[in-house]
């Protein structure tokens, strides 16, 4: 089956099995392995990507459902060789350890900040409740998102 969509700004057309999950399409067909699979049941959030700007769990969406959509993965976040403020925040605030949940967390946080540029700690924790992290206990992730929010608001103000 033919699917056409945009991945990280690049238009693509591919022939795939209709049952191919979006995450497998991204990892196996497009070759972007930054998006991880952690549970295949949309419970852990490791596979979170942006579809038309909103966070979705790519392990429970068929690639064909993304027909015509714009998909952004963690590989598509940085621009001009510079990290996105959310990526920077995770690095700056030690928001990751093993790194496996990190791409999904980053995409979810990016979605949150696009809707709420100044989230409180409670709002951040609530927004991330579909993304599991086993290493950090979440506190440094909260700090990372706060860092990114401040950076993004500062650069908008400038």
């Amino acid at each position: 089956m033919r699917v056409s969509l945009t991945v990280n700004g690049q238009r693509r057309e591919d022939d795939i099995e209709p049952r191919t999950l979006l995450v497998h399409y991204l990892r196996e067909v497009v070759g972007l392995t930054g998006t991880h699979v952690g549970c295949e049941t949309s419970l852990c959030g490791a596979c979170t990507v942006l579809m038309n700007g909103r966070a979705v769990k790519s392990c429970t969406i068929l690639a064909v459902q993304a027909e015509g959509a714009e998909i952004t993965t963690v590989e598509g976040l940085s621009s001009d060789g510079k990290f996105h403020p959310v990526q920077e925040g995770f690095w700056e605030e030690h928001g990751l350890q093993c790194g496996y949940c990190t791409p999904g967390m980053i995409m979810m946080a990016t979605d949150l900040l696009s809707r709420n540029p100044d989230p409180s700690e409670a709002e951040i924790r609530a927004a991330l409740e579909g993304n599991l992290c086993r290493c950090t206990g979440y506190q440094h992730i909260v700090n990372a998102v706060r860092y990114a929010a401040n950076r993004m608001r500062a650069s908008k103000g400038a």
Binding site: G99, Y100, L132, G137
Partner: protein
Amino acid sequence: MPVIPKFVGERVKRREDPRLVSGTGTYVDDVKLVGMVSAMILRSPYPHARINSIDVSKARTADGVVAVLTGEDLRGKIGSVPCVAPAERVPFHPVLAHGKVRFVGEPVAVVVASNPYKAQDALDLLEVDYDPLDAVVDPEKAFDKDAPIIHEEFGTNLCTRSEVPNPQVDEAMRKADKVIKFRLVNQRLAPAPMEPRGVVAQWHPGLKQLTLWSSTQIPHLLRSQLAEMLKLGENHIRVIAPEVGGGFGCKLNVYPEEALVAYLAMTLNRPVKWIERRRENLSATTHGRDQITYLEVAARKDGEVLGIKASFVCDMGAYLHLLTPAIPGFSGLMMTGCYKIPALAFEQKFAFTNKMSTDAYRGAGRPEAAYIAERVMDMVASEFGLDPADVRRKNFIPKEAFPAPTAGGLVYDSGDYNLALDKALEMAEYKKMRAEQEAARKQGRLIGIGISSYVEICGIGPSALLPPKLKGGGWESATVRIEPDSKVTVLTGISPHGQGQETTFAQLVADSFGIDIDDVVVIHGDTAQVQYGIGTFGSRGTTVGGPALMLTVQKLQDKMKKIASTMMEVPPDQLIFTQRTIAMASDPARSIPLQQVVDAAYGYKMPIPGVEPGLEEKTFYEPSACTFPFGTHVAVVEVDPETGVVKFLKYVAVDDCGKIISPLLVDGQVHGGIAQGIAQALYEEVVYDENGQLVTASLMDYAVPKADMLPHFDCANTVTPSPVNILGVKGVGEAGTIGSTPCVVNAVLDALKPFGIRHLDMPLKPEKIWNAIRNAKKA
């Protein structure tokens, strides 16, 4: 030239992170090889059943299928999945079951196909005829006369019984004002790293070389065990632990799939990939804890504890994994905690049950021990109406007593338990909170304050303390090479998977040679690149791997000073490394660039007698003793009497892991540990129903905590250096898990005190609390 700062002790951003935040790290599932095929495993749906037959005919002819194998096909081809820890009865542990299945999730058959979708299709075509058998689920009933026998050859479900007797305990019981008796359960937990396990194997037929990528914490130990299972020379196997997405002990193991995928690659002559699914991860990756303890505590009414007698029943599961029967020993030996309790006796019975094996899970025996010790302190306080903080102070080993021998036969290296307790109580505003608790109780609000003063054991060494069958000991290795351009390459035998030693080790090396952290590369997790090493577990990465590194650095420094000494005509003992030079300590302006010394070592145009060319050194470091990190955690919670929901008002952690190399990473380790410990106290539990069926086989049912289920942690450190290693470090990987569980349970039970509730077993879910309150009100 910009001044190079010092790195040790500073807040240094991790050097691992740029690749991980940009999606360019390589985990096992990211490995792609030409001609690679996918393996999927059919697993037992029964806890205990006889396999009558397996019909593979439909699967073998399905589209894209390359091979289908069952246990019968592998008989005699692959050795037992290994257990290196001593036990009275060690069953053969097949890679694929033959004859019988013994737990839900046991591998029964494997399908190899051109991709995972086709492998799954073919898996659905396999037909297995089972005769279900009664299962052993409750370990306390495993020894009953009418219990089904799991391994017929033994005629019993008793794996091992061990006893540490002590006649002084009976004496203590006689002298006590009261002997307090109670039963504690450390429930079964699933480590559940975010990255499930995965294996890729490639066979190079010409070279007769096997390359195996595995999500493991122990690449070298895995290589040794695989060599034995597959009857290959160790020099014909290369194990690579690429990016590993968390381990927490469950990847400190050798699994059937590692040998199976290697065997498939060798026999099919194609690269094979197997990626564990979450359901498999929760059913067929080792679990942790699962110990039941009956306690008798001899105490005086002033709070002094005179002795503890304990009887354990520990659930091994159906088979023994790498260290399964070794874990409970730590629970027994560490049970006296930070306290000068003079007499300890315990008995342990290890039961086979129809469940997944237990093995190391973050803390591995010490969280259970700390839970016992800290529940004991609160039980004693409660019995005699004393303040739990005072009972702890009364029993603490005083700081003058170190090195301190314990009733468990260990020698604690250093400690200042009062310091950590005082600091934690101050941060938690203990007195004020007690007053608030009193006032709240009058209004019917249930506030509880819980304390836990823990001590744990890390960096297990000397090697004699490790099981004799483990190929490797308690030592660790390091190679340091200064390359011809003065950049430094470190090869460490540890295998970090989130702990961050690419950063901490680079900090140590950069400061030692007066160079920038970016001049250092730390390589790990590849047996073809790195000398034999032991791996990352038991908070040993920095505790044992760190001294191995620093001793190697010192050897190189000595060599370079010798060379510089000749070049500068200054005695070597007057030289230091600073700002990419070797300089006179008394007059740093008198120096030569590091590069000139490196050039002299590699160019070797003017040989110095007794100095070989090149700049590379290696150390196999054997620790002289273990380290004992400690600390105090305090939780303040409020329990909603209408719903049983526990809400955190405060969480304070004061941890002492000796000297700190990277404060940011220490915080990170503590946070993650606390999260897992709170999860044991409140949320997580592997549940098998009464028939042995696994109920918690998805992340919907197994409650790994989410961001909004955990509080903000208020962390601080005290610093009591360890005298047993040159860095003064103690280890911090597991401390949070060990300290947190008891303090949260103590806090909840403190909140429930007005109802006369003495104890509840974990996890303290709202339903359990709500029922306990309701029953107490009825009574």
